[in-house]
């Protein structure tokens, strides 16, 4: 038969075209898909209550409030609850864009692995979704609006997902990292703790436009309905052992933890009450570069963890307490400031390590490092780790090198 290949090719093309035009692929239409951007989980009456925040296109929605962009569902499991959100609305929830998972305070006393299990198993939700716990109900946080963005999920993400290292006051974690830590040798994990703070702003201020909140400029709700706006604070961190909450790091402890774990830069380090030539002032040092290393020494009976840090800073601000004399701008870092900064930072780190010892919380992966690099002594050392561990802290702060004639 002549041109058999061409004929087969044409037949296949027609079949594909037929399949194409039938449009019958069992697909969920894009318009019937609820694009979930954030998910909040709470526990109510022994059931999981899931609140999904969905992103709605702006046109035609007009005066939509955030409450109407939230879907709620209850079930014995998280998967059940998420499924029920779809039955109420007829929309198919698509979790591919869900980048934020909030866990309410009611769940912190239980093993969080149970409620996060669905997200770990499902490939529909990204492992890189940010995880955070909230005070009171997580759904309340989602219901709040923020001056930063009409959709609370996005404004929370902005706060937590700042550029790595900058303004390091959030010890962020994602689903993968939390699970990894949960199933690590120490079974210790953490996540940021989010609180809402009421915002005070003028009636004329408008919320900023963002990618999916274009309706906010149309809504004109800020003046009219006196809606209470809130800012979010994620500067505290909750600590978990085997998925159960065992404690909390306050703001300064969290900042120090971020400094040590993430090597921050372009963030401020406050130094108080520094006396130079009879003038007492508070300084704000801008960290240009920082590097912290952890070394574990098991040569003696104890486990010694040496935390060494080097910070390269410059003076960003200087506020004289006496208010009577003005300094000329300081280009190089005075020794007094240097010493005060090192002392303050060392004390903060000691406070953090003491807390970790007290809670027996392995923030610095000591257990893991022992296993990896001192595996022969691991079995003996691990049993008495938190009783015998010592922290040796050495912090150095550097400024511009002074030129001496």
């Amino acid at each position: 038969m002549k041109f058999i290949k061409a004929k087969i090719f044409i037949v296949i093309t027609f079949l594909i075209a037929g399949y194409f035009f039938s449009n019958d692929f069992g697909l969920i239409d894009i318009e019937k898909t609820a694009i979930v951007t954030a998910c909040a989980i709470d526990k109510e009456d022994n059931e999981y209550k899931v609140t999904l925040q969905i992103a709605l296109p702006s046109e035609g929605m007009g005066a939509e409030q955030n409450g109407k962009a939230l879907l709620e569902g209850k079930g014995l499991t998280v998967a059940d609850a998420i499924g029920k959100t779809g039955t109420v609305t007829g929309w198919y929830p698509s979790l591919s864009f869900c980048n934020l998972i909030l866990v309410g305070e009611s769940l912190l006393s239980d093993d969080l692995t149970a409620c996060l299990d669905y997200f770990s198993r499902s490939i529909k939700i990204q492992d890189s979704a940010i995880l955070a716990c909230t005070e009171n109900n997580a759904s309340d946080i989602l219901k709040k609006t923020s001056p930063l963005d009409n959709i609370s999920g996005f404004s929370l993400q902005k706060i937590i997902l700042k550029k790595t290292g900058m303004d390091g006051n959030v010890l962020k974690t994602d689903l993968k990292e939390f699970e990894n830590n949960r199933f690590s040798r120490s079974l210790d994990s953490y996540m940021p703790f989010v609180c809402a703070v009421d915002a005070k702003h003028s009636d004329n201020s408008k919320p900023s436009d963002s990618g999916s909140s274009k309706e906010s400029s149309n809504s004109g709700q800020t003046g009219g309905e006196n809606e209470q706006k809130s800012f979010f604070n994620a500067s505290k961190t909750k600590l978990f052992k085997k998925g159960v909450c065992i404690g909390e790091l306050n703001e300064s402890e969290t900042s120090v933890a971020v400094l040590i774990k993430n090597n921050v830069y372009d963030t401020n380090l406050p130094v108080k009450n520094v006396l130079i030539n009879g003038i007492t002032a508070n300084y704000s040092l801008r960290i240009i570069k920082s590097k912290f290393t952890l070394k574990i020494n098991t040569s003696d009976d104890n486990v010694t963890v040496k935390i060494s840090g080097k910070l390269f800073v410059k003076i960003a601000d200087e506020t004289s307490i006496d208010n009577n004399t003005s300094h000329e701008p300081l280009i190089t870092l005075p020794d007094e400031v240097k010493i005060a900064a090192e002392k303050a930072l060392t004390q903060d780190i000691i406070a953090l390590t003491d807390k970790c010892k007290q809670l027996k919380f392995d923030l610095f992966d000591i257990d893991l490092n022992l296993y990896r690099f001192h595996s022969k002594k691991y079995n003996t050392k691990i049993k008495t780790l938190w009783d015998n561990v010592k922290f040796d802290i050495n912090v150095s702060v550097y400024g511009q090198k002074e030129y001496k004639k």
Partner: protein
């Protein structure tokens, strides 16, 4: 009849001619000079009657010796051939030459007094250059050959004629540079051409399609060009060219897909620019073929491929559109193709109206009416523009684009992958006269990459491309001093 010899008696000749040629534009002019009868056979629309009168009739009236040698010496003709059969006489006559029959001689003389209307040499519309020669081939074979000869003034440029077409007797000139063209290639082509029996060769594409091994292929296997400078350059790489009488598109073989991505401008402008533009063409082609399909597959199957803000924009724009994303894209593509076709076929004076209709009415109004969405329209427009960065392959790529769209709409992203792999497998197995059409990429010929996507500097392309198998490898040498210059 074909080999019937010309009769000595002129009356028999004239009777034979009148019996076999009954066409009003073919003239048989009988005249006598001093009792010697002659007959002139010519086609009225192809001959220069003034030249015939001045150079044949007038000189003949003065001669006394009517031998063939004397007549040949008397007539002033730029070309003169002696013919012995009627078949040869007819061929010469319909070629535009004038045939002189002499009473008492069983031969005739073919005199080259052709004159017919033809298009003048101009820049071809399909190959515009900003810098470089602007001549283009025309329909007349002799004009085309003159353009070629002016560029290759070497005895090694060989031209062989072959006639194809039972009724059209179209002359095809096979051109090659002896010593440069791959050995055996010309013979292969001639063999292949001889197997064609056809009534009429309307265009060189008939010859091209006959020379193609896989006639049902979407991809061509014979290169084409309208420019003599490009044609010459291809001959110098080791290819064989075919100029077909009546067509301005000349053919070259073997063909590689890369040659359509190379423009003449690349060789006349900066190498950096040429390299950047070639990469741009490649990306433009990929965008043209894949973008509509990728967009449809992302909308239908893989929402997670799109960034969230873009996805919301799309959802916003497709609200209320009655068609599914795949059908909407197909419909918009169909409208675009209809506009394209109409703009080629329509008379020029309605072109403006159609542009308005196409642009404003179909574009903006259709979007405002909610029949199609703005992203779809934009994608088809981008795809359409990108397609024309490689004009020689527009037909191929537009078919591919449709196939990718159908596959993407049916099977999603993985369908695109499978079709892409299928096309790649097809391309790597296709050959043009023994040369893989994806050379120098597959098979990988590293030396030829100096003029592939990367355009080397002048002086870098010292060797002929290995792809075409020419035994004469060196095409350029640059000496530091003139006295060191040797023959290549």
């Amino acid at each position: 009849m074909e080999n019937e010899k010309i009769s000595k008696k002129l009356n028999d000749v004239v009777a034979y001619l009148e019996e076999n040629i009954s066409s009003d534009d073919v003239k048989i002019h009988l005249f006598t000079v001093k009792n010697k009868a002659f007959a002139l056979l010519y086609v009225d629309s192809l001959s220069d009657k003034t030249a015939i009168s001045d150079n044949v009739l007038r000189p003949l009236k003065k001669i006394n010796d009517f031998s063939k040698e004397s007549i040949s010496a008397t007539i002033h003709a730029p070309e003169m051939k002696t013919l012995y059969t009627y078949a040869e006489a007819f061929t010469e006559c319909f070629d535009g030459n004038t045939v002189l029959f002499i009473d008492g001689e069983s031969l005739s003389l073919s005199l080259g007094y052709k004159k017919f209307e033809m298009r003048s040499v101009a820049e071809p519309p399909t190959s515009i250059t900003l810098r470089g020669p602007r001549e283009g081939f025309v329909e007349c074979l002799s004009t085309n050959l003159s353009l070629l000869r002016r560029r290759v003034k070497s005895k090694n440029l060989k031209i062989e004629f072959i006639s194809i077409g039972k009724y059209s007797e179209t002359r095809v000139a096979i051109c090659y540079v002896d010593g440069v063209a791959k050995e055996g290639l010309k013979e292969q082509i001639v063999e292949k051409l001889k197997t064609l029996q056809i009534d009429n060769v309307a265009d060189s594409s008939y010859i091209a399609k006959h020379l193609t091994k896989d006639k049902s292929s979407i991809f061509k296997e014979i290169g084409t060009t309208e420019k003599p400078d490009i044609f010459t350059a291809k001959l110098m790489e080791g290819r064989v060219g075919l100029i077909v009488d009546g067509s301005p598109f000349v053919l070259t073989a073997p063909y590689v897909i890369l040659e359509d991505f190379q423009a003449a401008d690349d060789y006349y402008s900066l190498s950096y620019r040429a390299t950047a533009v070639r990469i741009l063409r490649l990306f433009a082609v990929l965008i043209a073929i894949l973008l509509p399909g990728l967009f449809v597959s992302a909308e239908l199957f893989h929402l997670q491929l799109l960034p969230l803000s873009f996805l919301l924009t799309i959802v916003n724009s497709i609200k209320g559109i009655p068609l599914s994303p795949s059908f909407e894209m197909f419909f918009t593509l169909a409208i675009f193709e209809i506009l394209n076709e109409a703009s080629i076929r329509m008379p020029k004076y309605v072109g403006m109206a159609v542009s308005v209709v196409g642009g404003l009415v179909l574009g903006e109004t259709a979007v405002n009416a909610g029949i199609i969405s703005a992203p779809t329209l934009m994608i088809i427009a981008i795809s359409g523009i990108c397609l024309y960065t490689v004009p020689e392959m527009v037909q191929t790529f537009s078919v591919l684009r449709l196939l990718f769209l159908l596959t993407a709409g049916s099977f999603g992203g993985y369908g695109i992958i499978l079709l892409a792999v299928g096309v790649i497998i097809y391309l790597v197995s296709a050959e043009s006269f023994g040369t893989p059409i994806l050379a120098p990429f597959a098979p990988l010929i590293i030396k030829d990459h100096k003029d592939a996507i990367y355009k080397g500097f002048f002086g870098e392309n010292v060797f002929r491309p290995k792809t075409f198998g020419s035994k004469n490898k060196t095409r350029m040498r640059i000496f530091s001093k003139f006295k060191d210059k040797k023959e290549m």
